[in-house]
C-alpha cells in the first residue's frame, strides 16, 4: 500500500465537503495566529512596562491578543466552508450600533493612549486640568484619577484631559512664588529688604539659585510696597510659601519695621491740621 499525501489531504471527513487538508489549514492558521498573538502581546507588555500600571498593561495585552486570535479565526473559518458573509451583514449592523454607542469610549481610549505616550502628566504630579486642581492618582486607559487638595476623588475622562489646557505645577524642577509686603513710609526699605533676605537665606528650601529677589515695587497709598520673589523646589514650594511670610513679618517687627494698616488722613476745611500717624500693626497682601 502506497501512502499518497495528496489523496490523504483530499479525503473527506464526512461533514459536507470538508477535507483533511481543510482541517489542517484551519488548525495551521489558528496555531500561527496564536503564536503571533502571543509574540505581539508579549511585546506590548514589554513596551508598556514603564508607561502603564500592570493591570492596564495586562488588559491592553489581552485586547491585542484576542483581536489577533479573532482575526486568525476569521481567516481560517472559510476552510471549514463557514460563510462569513451572513455574519458580515449582521455584524455590520451590530458594529454600527456598537460604534455609535462606544464613540466616547473609543475617544477616551485613544486620548488615554496619547496621554500615555506624550506624558504631559505623571502619577504624583500636581496639576490643573479642566478647572480641577489636585494630584494625579492614576492614569488609566479611559480616565485620569485626580485627588483634589481637599481629598476628593475625581475621575476625568481622558478625552477631556487631552483636549483641555493642562497646567503641570511640578514638571519643572523649581518654581517661583511671590509675596507683597507693605511697610511704613518712615521705615527703611533697604533695611527691610536686608532682613527679609536673611530670613529667606536661612530657609533650606528657599533656593540659593535662582537667587531670591526683593525690591520696592511701588509707593502705595498706605505704605511702601515690597515684592519678594522666591524660588523653591517645585514639589516643596507650598511648604516654603506657608512658613516664610510670617517669619519675614516677625523679623521685620522685631527690628521696628511695622506693616501698616490701610489708612486715610482726612483734612477738615476749618480744622487745624494735626499730624497723622501711620503706625499700626498690619496687613500683608499676597
Amino acid at each position: 500500500m502506497i501512502f499518497s499525501l495528496t489523496a490523504t489531504l483530499g479525503t473527506s471527513i464526512g461533514i459536507g465537503t470538508i477535507t483533511v487538508g481543510d482541517i489542517l489549514w484551519f488548525a495551521g492558521i489558528i496555531v500561527v495566529g496564536v503564536i503571533i498573538a502571543k509574540v505581539v502581546a508579549l511585546n506590548v507588555r514589554r513596551a508598556l512596562t514603564e508607561r502603564l500600571p500592570k493591570s492596564e498593561r495586562e488588559l491592553l495585552a489581552k485586547v491585542v491578543y484576542y483581536i489577533i486570535i479573532l482575526w486568525a479565526i476569521a481567516v481560517a473559518l472559510p476552510y471549514l466552508n463557514f460563510d462569513l458573509s451572513g455574519l458580515l451583514v449582521a455584524g455590520g449592523i451590530v458594529g454600527l450600533v456598537i460604534g455609535f454607542a462606544s464613540q466616547s469610549v473609543v475617544s477616551n481610549l485613544v486620548s488615554g493612549l496619547f496621554l500615555m505616550f506624550e506624558r504631559p502628566i505623571k502619577i504624583g504630579d500636581n496639576i490643573n486640568v479642566a478647572d480641577i486642581t489636585g494630584s494625579v492618582e492614576d492614569i488609566k486607559v479611559l480616565s485620569t484619577i485626580v485627588k483634589t487638595y481637599d481629598g476628593i476623588y475625581t475621575r476625568i475622562p481622558n478625552e477631556k484631559v487631552f483636549t483641555s489646557n493642562i497646567t503641570n505645577y511640578v514638571n519643572n524642577a523649581a518654581r517661583r512664588f511671590e509675596y507683597k509686603i507693605r511697610i511704613r513710609y518712615r521705615d527703611d526699605a533697604d533695611e527691610a529688604i536686608r532682613l527679609a533676605k536673611e530670613v529667606i537665606a536661612a530657609h533650606p528650601l528657599a533656593l540659593k539659585n535662582p537667587a531670591p529677589m526683593i525690591y520696592v515695587d511701588s509707593l502705595g497709598d498706605n505704605g511702601i510696597n515690597l515684592i519678594a520673589r522666591i524660588w523653591a523646589p517645585a514639589r516643596n514650594w507650598w511648604e516654603v510659601r506657608t512658613v516664610l511670610l510670617w517669619k519675614i513679618v516677625k523679623r521685620l517687627e522685631e527690628n521696628g519695621i511695622i506693616v501698616p494698616y490701610p489708612q486715610r488722613t482726612l483734612w477738615l476745611a476749618d480744622a487745624e491740621r494735626t499730624p497723622g500717624s501711620d503706625a499700626g500693626a498690619g496687613k500683608v497682601e499676597e
Binding site: 519643572n172 524642577a173 524660588w231
Partner: protein, 236 residues
C-alpha cells in the same frame, strides 16, 4: 562616634548625643543634635549591630535630591591641565541597624544649616543640595562631625581654557571613608568643554587604613550602577 557597636554605647560631645541604652529591659536609641531629638526602641537580637558612619550628604533636611553641588573659589585651567585640590563637604551621619537578616536605616542627622539650589534652568535643571567650600592645596583641618574632605582631581580635556567654580556630584555614587580624624571622599572632574564636565567618585580611601562607610542606597536596597554625573549646565 563613628564605628560599629554590638550593645549599648554612648557618645556625647558639644551639640551631639548619640546613645543606645537599656531601659527596663528595652534597648533604646536616642539622639540629640542641635536641639533636635530622636528616639526609638530597638527590638533586635543579641547579634544585631548598630553602625554609625558618615553618609552621602543629600538627605537633610529632606530627601528631595541625589545631587550635591559644591561651590568654590573659581579655578582657571589651561587646555590639557590637571589639578588636584581639596574641598570641604557637609557631613551627614547615618545610623544603621544590621543583623544577619539585613541592614536598615535607623537615623540620619547632621549639624549646621542646609541649603538647596537649582543647577541649570528651571525647565531642564535639577535641584541639588548646595554647600560652599574653600579650595585647599592639601587636606584642610575640619570639624570632624560637620565637614568632610573631598579630594577633587580636575582634568581639562578640552582644547579651551576652563573656568570652574562649582562641581555637581551624584550623591548616590559617593564613596565615603572615615578614620578617627576625618570623613573623606575622592572625586574626579573631567572637563569635556568649557560648559560641560563629567564628575564621579573613586572607590579608594583618601588615606590608607580608612574604613568605608555603609552607604544609604545599600541599606535602602537600591540597585545602583555608578555612572557619575554629567554637568551640562555650566561649570560656574
Amino acid at each position: 562616634m563613628f564605628g560599629q557597636y554590638t550593645s549599648t554605647f554612648r557618645y556625647e560631645s558639644g551639640d551631639f548625643l548619640v546613645e543606645a541604652e537599656r531601659i527596663d529591659g528595652l534597648l533604646t536609641y536616642r539622639r540629640k543634635c542641635e536641639g533636635r531629638a530622636f528616639e526609638r526602641i530597638l527590638a533586635v537580637s543579641e547579634a544585631a549591630r548598630v553602625t554609625v558612619n558618615p553618609v552621602e550628604p543629600v538627605n537633610l533636611p529632606k530627601d528631595i535630591t541625589d545631587l550635591l553641588q559644591i561651590e568654590f573659589t573659581p579655578i582657571v585651567l589651561e587646555p590639557g591641565a590637571a589639578q588636584t585640590v581639596y574641598l570641604k563637604f557637609p557631613v551627614e551621619i547615618g545610623v544603621f541597624l544590621a543583623s544577619e537578616k539585613g541592614i536598615d536605616i535607623l537615623d540620619i542627622f547632621g549639624a549646621g544649616a542646609q541649603k538647596y539650589t537649582l543647577y541649570g534652568p528651571p525647565a531642564g535643571g535639577a535641584i541639588a543640595r548646595w554647600c560652599r567650600s574653600g579650595v585647599y592645596p592639601r587636606v584642610p583641618p575640619v570639624e570632624r562631625f560637620r565637614e568632610g574632605v573631598m579630594e577633587l582631581s580636575i582634568l581639562n580635556t578640552s582644547s579651551e581654557w576652563a573656568h570652574v567654580s562649582c562641581a555637581v556630584f551624584n550623591g548616590v555614587d559617593m564613596k565615603i571613608f572615615y578614620n578617627d580624624d576625618i570623613a573623606a571622599a575622592t572625586a574626579t572632574m573631567k572637563i569635556i568643554n568649557p560648559t560641560i564636565a563629567e564628575t564621579g567618585f573613586i572607590d579608594i580611601p583618601l588615606v590608607p587604613g580608612m574604613t568605608r562607610s555603609v552607604e544609604l542606597y545599600r541599606a535602602r536596597k537600591i540597585r545602583v550602577i555608578s555612572r557619575g554625573y554629567l554637568m551640562e549646565w555650566g561649570l560656574s
